[in-house]
């Protein structure tokens, strides 16, 4: 078995390398968004790319989410492979019309004549006291729309590896990067290839299925460590792909552990957690030994004060407490 080189880096660097590789491999690929060029990217993901690839391929746009997302769709239709960066999910609301009324629908509305090979990247999530308008987690909302594919990389491997298959996909793919993960450091193996179809078991267990994605994966793993000390052996699943959901992996786990706890930074009502619980209930109702549970954000716009923000978001103690009640 050949040993691959591994190296240590931050998640943002893994994302940058993914962009670099894509720009090198395919001349149709270009990056477009606010401050991606001269500024180097608001989260420093695209730092250095303008110097390397030039202004035709690294395009700074005006503050026109509706305009440049629509243009990204047009460019994809016109034969390019655009990567459109919307600074955060909070600003993507301005571009909901082209995303939902054109990108998601064009293939179907045209009777299969046109595909939209668009990749859209945006930062998501809360936790840095940025208050109500800068703290949304709306990936679950987007996962509601047929015609879109939704990814949530939570590991260095996925940050490095998901972009290329997303660009190969002929349909619109939205990649949600949790803002708290850009600094995440870890070991990355060179040349690893990942898919954009499956969920992954990040920690095997037998007593409880803990489902998480993006920014909540780390919290779920920390909770699992703590629960192990109490004799509860949790299996942690990283969803990776929010639409289409990998039912098979979820069900195999729940049929084994018979207990489900979903951790989702979206608000509780109508959340992605609700969808997962509905699917598991429909398909594995009789395999469950306890009601399915979820830990989500509290139902309010995210507050500024640190202690209130912490109380509003899913945290490890809450995950552990809920896990205890269903494991008894």
């Amino acid at each position: 078995m050949s040993t691959r080189t591994t190296y240590r880096e931050a998640l943002r660097e893994a994302l940058r390398e993914a962009l670099r590789e894509a720009l090198q491999r395919d001349p149709r690929v270009f990056l477009m968004g606010e401050d991606v060029g001269r500024y180097g990217g608001t989260y420093a993901v695209s730092k250095g790319l303008l110097e390397a690839f030039g202004p035709e391929r690294i395009r700074d746009t005006p503050l026109s989410e509706l305009g440049f997302v629509g243009a990204g769709i047009g460019a994809a239709l016109g034969g390019m492979r655009p990567i459109v960066e919307v600074m955060t999910v909070n600003f993507s609301l301005l571009a909901l019309d082209p995303l939902i009324n054109t990108a998601a629908t064009l293939r179907h509305m045209s009777g299969g004549q046109f595909s939209v090979p668009l990749v859209l990247r945006m930062a998501t999530g809360a936790g840095r006291q940025l208050a109500a308008q800068h703290s949304h987690s709306l990936e679950g909302w987007y996962a509601h729309i047929p015609g879109l594919k939704i990814l949530a990389p939570a590991t260095l491997e996925d940050a490095r590896g998901m972009l290329w298959p997303a660009l190969q996909d002929p349909d619109p793919v939205l990649i949600f990067e949790h803002a708290q993960l850009y600094n995440l450091e870890g070991e990355l193996e060179e040349g690893v290839v990942v898919d954009i179809r499956s969920a992954r078991v990040r920690r095997a267990g037998s007593d409880l299925t803990l489902v998480a994605y993006g920014g909540t994966l780390g919290k779920a793993l920390a909770a699992a460590e703590q629960l192990a000390g109490e004799g509860i052996n949790a299996e942690v699943i990283d969803l990776r792909v929010l639409r289409p959901l990998d039912d098979a992996t979820l069900l195999a786990s729940v049929c084994k552990t018979r207990r489900l706890l979903v951790v989702d930074e979206g608000w509780r009502s109508g959340s992605l957690a609700a969808e997962i619980i509905a699917r598991v209930s429909e398909q594995a109702f009789f395999e469950l030994d306890a009601p399915p549970a979820r830990v989500c954000s509290a139902e309010l716009p995210i507050p500024y004060a640190k202690h209130l923000e912490e109380a509003a978001l899913p945290q490890v103690p809450a995950i552990v407490a809920v896990a205890r009640t269903i494991c008894r």
């Binding site: 395009r59 005006p62 305009g67 239709l77 655009p82 509305m109 009777g111 349909d171």
Partner: protein, 328 residues
């Protein structure tokens, strides 16, 4: 006016023929709607024929065209067969969008007809993206975008014009000013009713044209197209026109009075142009009747085609939400 026409007889007659084709198609569609054969929304182009006919005849056949929900005429002249259009409105799978789109979503990949958009101003950013792709791939095709004056109040218009001008993209913005956005007159929706001034504020060259005169339309568009294709950046044309019928099928037209409609009908594009052709000796009564009979035959053949068409099997409901693996 009996000034000689600036193009050969063949094109001169072609223009009339195409206007009559649109007129008869629309009138027949109105009848069929009353009979219940066509459902949903139906927006008729009657009175505005000179714009689509004159403008599209000034484009190259492989230029991209983006239009609105009042697009039957544009689709027809761009090259979508009347049979495919009629079958689409009937909801048959022989329609250009497999019956999945209906009147508002006519699409045709072969002729680069990109719809058929039901969101006012939704097509503008799309056209900008198509032009961007063309520029980046070093081609010389332009993107022509048709929209009503109502679209100029939408943010998408402003974002699209700014982006097209900033990046000097080959977009031809064609505003069909028929004075009413559904029931709202221009002076009730725009603080600045000089539409060319609005475009010019983005440093986009702009020109107003008599949209009831097919010759004026063709000439103005040809000149603008030359400038755009030559790398001069985007161009804005305002076609002053009028729709003789209501906004859509069920509109009691409470917002305008019948005398105004009657006045515009006196300037009807088909009526005036055929009179001009006759005055120039290019067409006689017999020739006009032959032309009309030819169009009627085409229309009836389209209706027969649609009537005989088939409905897509319901088992195929979920096709074309995503592009199948291995497809384009």
């Amino acid at each position: 006016m009996s000034a000689p026409l600036p193009f050969p007889r063949e094109l001169a007659l072609r223009l009339l023929h195409d206007m009559v084709r649109i007129r008869r198609l629309e009138e027949r569609a109105a009848e069929l709607y009353g009979e219940g054969k066509i459902r949903g929304f139906l927006h008729l182009y009657i009175g505005e024929e000179a714009v689509a006919v004159g403008a599209l005849h000034a484009l190259a056949p492989d230029d991209a065209v983006v239009a609105t929900y009042r697009e039957h005429g544009h689709a027809l002249i761009q090259g979508v067969s009347m049979q495919a259009i009629m079958a689409e409105m009937y909801g048959k799978q022989e329609g250009c969008s497999r019956g999945r789109g209906g009147s508002m979503h006519l699409f045709d990949a072969a002729t680069r007809f990109f719809g058929g958009n039901a969101i006012v101003a939704g097509g503008l950013p799309l056209a900008v993206g198509l032009a961007l792709a063309e520029r980046m791939q070093g081609g010389s095709r332009i993107a022509a975008c048709f929209f009503g004056e109502g679209a100029m109040a939408e943010g998408a218009f402003h974002e699209a014009l700014n982006l097209a001008a900033l990046w000097r993209l080959p977009v031809l913005f064609c505003c069909e000013n028929n004075l009413y956005a559904m029931g709202t007159a221009l002076e009730h929706s725009e603080s600045q009713t000089d539409l060319c001034a609005k475009a010019a504020s983005y440093k986009v060259p702009a020109q107003a044209v008599d949209g009831m005169d097919v010759v004026a339309v063709q000439q103005a568009t040809a000149a603008a197209v030359q400038q755009v294709r030559g790398g001069g950046g985007p161009f804005f044309l305002e076609f002053k026109t009028y729709r003789f019928r209501a906004h859509s099928m069920f509109d009691p037209e409470l917002y305008r009075d019948k005398a105004e409609v009657a006045k515009w009908k006196e300037r009807g594009p088909i009526h005036n142009y055929s009179a001009r052709l006759k005055a120039l000796g290019l067409l006689d009564e017999a020739g006009f009747l032959a032309l009309a009979a030819d169009v009627d035959a085409e229309v009836e053949a389209a209706v027969a085609f649609a009537e005989a068409g088939s409905l897509e099997p319901v088992d195929d409901l979920l096709r074309d939400v995503h592009t199948p693996e291995g497809a384009s």
